[in-house]
Amino acid sequence: MDTTARREHWLRAIAAAADPAALAAIDTRLFGPKGEVPEFVRSVTALPKDERPAFGKAANAVKVEVEQALAARREQFAAAALAQELAGSAFDPTEPGPRAARGTLHPITIVQNELVDLFTSMGFRWEDGPEVESEYFNFDALNIPGDHPARESQDTFWCKAQPGLGRNLLRTHTSPVQVRTMQRLTRQGFHAPLKVVVPGRCFRSETVDKTHEHTFYQMEGLVVDRDVSTANLIHTMKTCLRVILERDVQVRLRPGFFPFVEPGFELDVNCPFCSGRGCSVCKQSGWIEILPCGMVHPNVLRQGGIDPEAYTGFAFGMGLQRVVMLRYGIDDIRQFMGGDLRFLRQFPEVAR
């Protein structure tokens, strides 16, 4: 056969290959050991010298062409196979796989952690204190002596007398940790500044309903340094609320009375439910009371072993439930202590 005939013969064979296996067989036949194509190219040696260059050139061109045809055909098969693989068996991407772990942190924990992150980033230390507390730390040390009316307004759960134990109670606020922390840090002399946050569980004897709980969460904050002012308090509180409520809050600071601060304030935020127009949540006032705070009373600093002439400070006690309710739109405070997974699983985040 001449060059043209062979070329056509081979190309036809390649085109006729029905599947990758047939193509592989043709590949072996043409290019394998004793393959037809190299044999053909080698047949140049049998030709007269003057014909060799022309034949050699033509034969090589055929070889290249056949190789390309093989490769192209292989590509075709591969493409068809891939197309088939992709079209493949039926697949439903909406079919669920095995469940990822469905654990959740309590929503108060989530918010508390975010607040702790925020305050620690501003140099506050994170501390804790006992829930069964002494009368001294809960009241006396906080400038609330025995006859002070503020004692009843706190609806204290008192503990029964027990041998070896003092006059104890379930703490009515996280504020006792103010003096505890100050005393601990001043034992070897005080080094300003003191910045601390204390989130935790508190108790007041109330009848539980949609808006009242006898077990609640507060986050106490205390800053003591030279030259701490009301202006610093306002800035710190605004920053905190902006971060935690994730909006540009409006706040107002008005007088509030707490024996352990002087002056004392109530800090309100504009109601997110009605944007300040007035609704049932904010009792038509447009404001929600969120943060009692104030400048630490000199008597409290003294109890902590700090000279109120040299240092001033501010303190706040944020109601965590209130913040969590505002953030997630929860309208029933009982859910927090209810232990119902149908509630708890609605908040799958961790602290930002």
């Binding site: 772990a101 469905r102 654990g103 959740t104 309590h106 108060i108 924990t109 952690n113 702790v116 501003m122 140099g123 994170w126 501390e127 804790d128 829930e131 069964v132 507390e133 002494s134 001294y136 730390f137 006859d147 009316p149 307004s153 759960f157 503990c159 029964k160 027990q162 070896g164 134990l165 003092g166 104890n168 379930l170 108790f203 004897s205 539980v208 006898h214 800053v223 340094d225 030259d227 002012s229 009301t230 202006a231 306002i234 107002r252 600071l253 008005r254 007088p255 509030g256 009375f257 002087e262 002056p263 009792k283 400048m295 000199p298 001033t312 202590m337 232990g339 997974l341 708890l344 699983r345």
Partner: protein, 802 residues
């Protein structure tokens, strides 16, 4: 407490100010105003009608048919009226058909229609004070003064409508001066820069005449007692304006003298008591402590047992009133009273408070006295009372001098307010004139000095409220308004805060437990219900007990977290096939006390894993806890069998301790089957508890780098037949020891129990990974290892299979 705008306006001119504005300004400078309502709202539709004729209804004895002239408001109309006191010639208040009477108390709004009453046409209604919401009850229709213009709107003829502010009492607990209108008027005068009128016009009292001597036996408990005898009193109903003024602020009208004592109290904050003078007799009035066991029946009819802490007002030795709280039964002024003995005293706040608390008897008077009232007011109140009484009852007159044995001389308390301290605490350099203006508007006496201000505190702020320099900072700040202080960030050194490792560890444990292990964090009350304690078999343990629990069966404070966590698994398991709960919490052990005599506190992280399908999550929980601790850098061994000391919910034979360097930090266990039954939980429930403080005690372990093996590992499968009593941990330890340095890892992949094995035996199938640092191991090494295992298996009573 309620405040009337009309009342406030008597003391300070408030024209041009919207009630809403006043509310906002008081809230921002003085005290929280919780609400604002319109007293007499909806009465605008009522008109003055002149009863021209009044005849008996032809068909009903108790009804009258009246021809009422409404003038321009409707001409003469016929109205059937049921009131006994209706009569021709009266000016009355009429509501016309189509108009609506506003809702009152329990009653809804009433729309008036023209109708026939027993066959007689009636076009409207003649109203009583009760129907108008101006009194709780009324004997008949309201009769207006004879000069009331016919057809005019009722609300234009008489001062009835008012704005009423509701104060949050808690926000004025520290301000005795704010327990009456005058104190708030003073605040408003300061806020708006308007003039405050004097509280009273002094009334001259006779120098001689009838009086009752007063003996104060305890000056600490009763710093001042003023008494006055007044004759010529007509104790009838008070006039409209007084009754309605009291009604607007929620005070029920009784009779003129009593209403006036209430008025004075609501005006000045000074409680008074008007005795019928016959009761007091010739006295003397004696203010003394009660004797232990003595008793008094108060005017609410309750007999009260007293102690030596309580203070009594006596006539001679006979108790007539519980001082500062409530009068004695029968001492009250009645219709027949003509002569009064008026008491206006000042009592020691804590004394009143203690008695009031102990007896559970809180009155308007005790609420005020326990805030520490100004003794100056005791005298002012008498003047105000007499002035008002004579206005409404011209026949009344004091019979003798005001008896005031203690008197009151006030030397103003002086406080230095340093300018630097003021500026520093507010964070703002307020100019002197501003400071001066504010303090003077609040009636402080002020002298400006080089260092700041020398401030004289008026008596009405000196009893309790203003005691130190910082209190004055508050006065200036609140009147300047805190909102006007520009915010300033904190400044200082930049240093990382000291870390409380326990809190951070607890937080990370929870985060990993919830995110990696699929636990849901639950909060339970610190009170553990008796039913749960009983079900958990823990009733014999010592608990911190609450004296005043919300329910008697919830007086215990929990020792451990697990019982309440188990209880919260129960309802959840009804909703979900699988429940994984965790809770961090504190437990209290009263049998141990700390240096502050507080009960010993434990910090726990507890787990309850349970499933409805009967599968046992114990193994999974154990692995999960091991992984959790490793994740946080606190790797622990969970191998040692533990028997659940002091924790009855732990299965005594199915628990492992969580050990760190040999000391226990918690446990993982099967729930005790008996507890599972009483709690109605599956017997396959798994529980765990970590003591966070103990976990922290042995410190964090930072991972040590091991070179990555250069030579390939050689996995060898080993099946050992052992007695059921032999633990996986024992066998694994054996396999490790036998291979010495070559053993890199021992992993159980199967426990086989079956018919093909002898009874009481199990086959533990391990993959032991061998490896060496200096060569590739061969079949020979495997053979040698298995040989040793075969030889030494007897040491654990085992036998190499296959």
């Amino acid at each position: 407490m309620k405040l009337s705008l009309r009342w406030l306006s008597r003391h300070v001119d408030l024209t041009g100010l919207e009630p809403k504005q006043i509310l906002a300004d008081l809230t921002m400078s003085t005290a929280e105003i919780e609400g604002l309502e319109r007293f007499g709202d909806g009465l605008e539709c009522l008109v003055v009608g002149h009863v021209r004729q009044c005849e008996r209804h032809p068909d009903a004895d108790k009804l009258s048919v009246c021809q009422v002239d409404l003038g321009a408001a409707g001409g003469v109309v016929q109205i059937v009226c049921g009131a006994a006191n209706v009569a021709a010639g009266q000016r009355t208040v009429v509501i016309r058909p189509g108009d609506t009477l506003p809702a009152q108390g329990g009653k809804g709004a009433l729309k008036i229609k023209a109708s026939k009453i027993r066959g007689v046409e009636s076009n409207g209604m003649i109203c009583s004070e009760a129907e108008l919401g101006l009194a709780e009850a009324a004997p008949g229709i309201l009769v207006l003064p004879a000069d009331a213009p016919i057809g005019a709107r009722f609300v234009d003829v008489l001062h009835v409508q008012d704005w009423v502010f509701e104060i949050d009492n808690k926000s004025i607990n520290h301000r005795p001066d704010l327990w009456g209108h005058y104190g708030f008027a003073r605040e408003l005068a300061a806020i708006y820069g308007r003039e405050l009128k004097p509280p009273v016009v002094p009334v001259p009292f006779p120098v001689e005449g009838r009086s009752v001597a007063v003996e104060i036996r305890d000056r600490d408990a009763c710093p001042r007692y003023c008494g006055l005898v007044i004759d010529g009193v007509v104790a009838g109903p008070s006039p409209h304006e007084l009754r309605w003024q009291l009604a607007a602020v929620g005070q029920r009208a009784i009779n003129l003298p009593v209403d006036l004592t209430n008025y004075v109290m609501l005006d000045l904050g000074q409680p008074m008591h008007a005795f019928d003078a016959r009761h007091v007799g010739t006295g003397p009035i004696r203010v003394r402590r009660a004797r232990d066991g003595e008793s008094i029946t108060t005017l609410d009819g309750h007999k009260r047992k007293l102690t030596a802490q309580d203070l009594l007002i006596c006539s001679g030795d006979k108790p007539e009133a519980l001082a500062g709280i409530m009068g004695g039964e029968g001492t009250m002024v009645e219709a027949a009273t003509t002569t009064l003995f008026l008491e206006s005293a000042n009592f020691h706040a804590a004394t009143i408070r203690r008695t009031s608390m102990r007896l559970g008897l809180r009155t308007d008077a005790s609420a005020r006295f326990e805030k520490a009232q100004d003794p100056a007011n005791a005298e002012l109140a008498v003047h105000l009372f007499v002035d008002l009484l004579r206005r409404y009852c011209p026949s009344a007159k004091p019979l003798g001098p005001l008896v005031d044995p203690a008197g009151f001389r006030y030397e103003p308390k002086r406080i230095v307010l340093r300018r630097a301290r003021l500026h520093q605490k507010l964070g703002l350099a307020l100019e002197d004139p501003r400071v001066l203006g504010i303090l003077e508007s609040l009636e402080f006496g002020v002298t400006v000095t080089a260092a700041g201000f020398e401030v004289a505190v008026p008596s009405f702020r000196a009893t309790k409220d203003i005691a130190i320099e910082d209190d004055l900072v508050e006065e200036v700040g609140r009147m300047f308004r805190y909102d006007n202080i520009p915010e300033v960030p904190l400044r200082g050194v930049i240093e990382p805060p000291v870390r409380n490792e326990e809190l951070f560890l607890q937080r990370r444990l929870l985060e990993v437990a919830c995110t990696d292990l699929g636990c849901s964090e639950v909060y339970n009350y610190s009170f553990v219900p008796d039913a749960v304690v009983d079900a958990c078999g823990a009733a014999a343990h010592a608990y911190v007990l609450v004296e005043n629990p919300t329910a008697p069966e919830q007086s215990r404070i929990r020792r451990h977290v697990l019982p309440s966590l188990l209880a919260s698994a129960v309802p959840n398991l009804r909703q979900h096939a699988e429940v994984r709960l965790c809770e961090r919490g504190k437990g209290y052990h009263p049998e141990m006390a700390d240096e502050h005599q507080l009960p010993h506190e434990v910090h726990e992280l507890a787990f309850v894993w349970t499933r409805r399908d009967g599968a046992h999550p114990f193994g999974e929980l154990r692995e999960a806890i091991a992984a959790l601790l490793a994740r946080l850098g606190y790797p622990a061994e969970l191998q040692r069998v533990w028997h659940g000391k002091d924790q009855p919910w732990v299965h005594p034979h199915r628990a492992v301790a969580i050990d760190r360097d040999g000391s226990p930090v918690g446990f993982v266990a099967h729930l005790h089957p008996a507890i599972a039954r009483t709690m109605a939980l599956p017997a396959t429930t798994a529980i765990a508890c970590l003591d966070v403080r103990a976990l922290l005690a042995n410190g964090r372990k930072i991972a040590r780098y091991q070179p990555v093996p250069t030579f390939p590992p050689l996995p060898v499968d080993v099946a050992l037949l052992v007695d059921e009593a032999v633990s996986v941990a024992q066998v694994a330890e054996f396999l490790r020891t036998v291979g010495k340095k070559l053993v890199r890892d021992v992993q159980l992949f199967e426990v086989y129990r079956g018919e093909r094995l002898p009874a009481g035996k199990k086959s533990l199938n391990f993959t032991v990974t061998l490896g060496a640092d200096d060569r590739t191991l061969t079949d020979q090494d495997e053979g040698k290892y298995l040989g040793k295992v075969r030889e030494q298996a007897a040491s654990i009573g085992g036998e190499l299979r296959g």
